[in-house]
């Protein structure tokens, strides 16, 4: 297990009793990330591109350096395949809007029932607008993807396949490579929501084989206000731009414009500069640990927590009952108690969890979560077995209020 991690995160110093189990929503930030942002504003702050003065040169270099780091982190071919967005949601919408022109009536868009709304509602709305057919690949009772169903749903009429790499509800690591290769066979474009994978497991976008991969900075120790969209160069080059404005153009005539090279073509206006610098530091921090180690750490936590959770018969767990191919996210309910009440009790015990539908209403319905309200505890590198014990103890205690 990783040890002494909390000491790198000032939030735990300032909230000594905090047991933070909501990293699935957003992670805490190490001191190095916070310092990098401050340092940027205090020493180098300037807008990037076209500034000819030293400050602007420095800020441009830092911005480019950040892209280089992110590119290497996910094994992209080049930093020019990295588009910075405001969050993962914008990245997924960008792909949807930019590909919209290729979708015709009757075309099929295939997603899974386990998508976060960010990788569901855009495709649903695109399908409605274009009279395309939206199809859902099913999961089993534990939230694992039904590959047989995938093979049936992906057909010669499928134009786009969009899928999450890791579910933010069940923690399942989906076999995206297999789904992508099915999609490739029929010539469909593939889009992966990697929000819950990039922070938690090693991700190699080239091995994965997808055409687009989106994720957020704030879930991987980085700041809010920045997301990453990786896109295969060929696609980025030929795609229509999405947001129009400064920096994404080459020339602007009164009635016509031409576009800048990638990735600038997709970065209209002032980008999240300080945020890029913060994200850079976050990648450094994760590299310092090693993503294999991050995954191992979560796997040990998973084994520990799963064992305890499954032994409590007042707990209903939504998701896999085995520790393979999953990260340390646990979504559950206490029989007879409402998720909000349980989450509030946990908070009363100093444990920060989330209750609600976790932006995945269709999945929670599929898994049979009544009213779609559930409690989610999600772990990250700074959590240890003491945090796990606190959760387990509190859940044992809750039993007395049941019924």
């Amino acid at each position: 297990m990783l040890t002494n991690m909390k000491s790198h995160f000032p939030v735990f110093e300032n909230n000594p009793n905090l047991i933070y189990l909501d990293s699935g929503a957003t992670s805490q930030k190490p001191r190095t990330v916070i310092d990098a942002i401050r340092d940027f504003y205090e020493k180098h702050n300037a807008n990037i591109h076209r500034g000819i003065y030293s400050l602007s040169v420095r800020s441009t270099q830092k911005y480019e350096e950040s892209k280089g780091k992110v590119a290497r982190f996910i094994k992209a071919r080049s930093p020019s395949e990295i588009v910075y967005t405001k969050n993962a949601t914008e990245g997924l919408n960008l792909v949807m809007y930019s590909l919209a022109g290729r979708i015709r009536e009757g075309d099929e868009i295939v997603i899974t029932i386990s998508e976060h709304h960010a990788n569901l509602v855009p495709w649903q709305q695109l399908a409605k607008r274009k009279r395309a057919i939206l199809k859902y690949i099913d999961v089993d009772e534990e939230g694992r993807l039904n590959l047989k169903d995938a093979r049936q749903k992906i057909t010669g009429r499928t134009r786009i396949v969009a899928i999450n790499h890791v579910s933010n509800v069940t923690g399942v690591i989906h076999p995206v490579e297999e789904v992508i290769s099915m999609a490739k066979k029929v010539g469909a474009i593939t889009v992966v929501d990697a929000c819950q994978s990039v922070p938690h497991i090693p991700v190699d976008v080239r091995k994965m084989g997808a055409d687009f991969v989106a994720f957020s900075g704030h879930k991987m120790l980085g700041p809010t206000g920045i997301g990453v969209l990786w896109g295969r160069e060929e696609f980025l080059k030929e795609m229509e731009p999405f947001l129009f404005g400064g920096d994404m153009i080459e020339t602007v005539e009164l009635y016509e414009s031409t576009w800048n090279d990638i990735p600038m073509k997709f970065e209209a206006g002032t980008p999240p500069i300080a945020e890029a610098v913060g994200l850079s530091a976050a990648v450094d921090f994760l590299n310092g640990i090693g993503m294999e180690e991050v995954y191992e750490h979560e796997r040990r936590i998973t084994e520990y927590v799963l064992d305890k959770l499954l032994s409590m018969d007042h707990i209903v767990l939504y998701g896999p009952r085995t520790p393979e191919d999953r990260i340390a996210i646990f979504t559950f309910n206490v029989k007879g108690l409402h998720a909000h009440d349980v989450a509030q009790f946990l908070d009363y015990r100093g444990i920060a969890t989330r209750s609600g539908h976790h932006c995945a209403q269709p999945l929670l319905r599929r898994l049979g979560a009544e009213g779609t309200s559930t409690v989610r505890a999600s772990f990250y590198i700074y959590n240890d077995s003491r945090d796990a014990d606190a959760l387990i103890e509190a859940l044992k205690e809750v039993k007395k209020y049941v019924g």
Partner: protein, 123 residues
């Protein structure tokens, strides 16, 4: 509401509601749900001469949503329709329900909205 929710009066109220059920002879009914968490409240109300004679509710959800539904039913009985319609959120939350922590305000307001919807309909 803060601290242990299971030892809070609202949790007790939710467990032992006084007005749960469906009136036989209601003149007004109205429903409100919070789809994001599945909370739901339906009121059945009997109004006579502009005065609320009897109130009951059905629904499901967290303790705060169900308890405040019950408390509001109790409070409304005997009041004039206008008085209930003009009840402000702040007053409801603080003076009638007795204070609700910020995160649970949405839960508590489901009942007020259901009640207003019911009374706003012509009976």
């Amino acid at each position: 509401m803060s601290g242990n929710p299971f030892e809070h009066p609202l949790f007790i109220y939710a467990k032992y509601p006084r007005h749960r059920g469906r009136l036989e002879d209601f003149t007004h009914t109205g429903q409100k749900g919070n789809p994001s968490c599945g909370d739901e409240v339906v009121y059945y109300i009997r109004v006579e001469d502009g005065r609320i004679e009897e109130v009951s509710f059905e629904g499901r959800g967290c303790s705060v949503s169900q308890a405040s539904a019950d408390i509001l039913a109790e409070w409304a009985m005997g009041k004039r329709v206008e008085e209930v319609l003009s009840l402000e959120e702040e007053t409801f939350l603080n003076d009638i329900v007795g204070g609700v922590i910020p995160t649970r305000i949405r839960c508590a307001l489901v009942s007020l909205q259901a009640m207003k919807r019911a009374l706003a309909e012509r009976g």
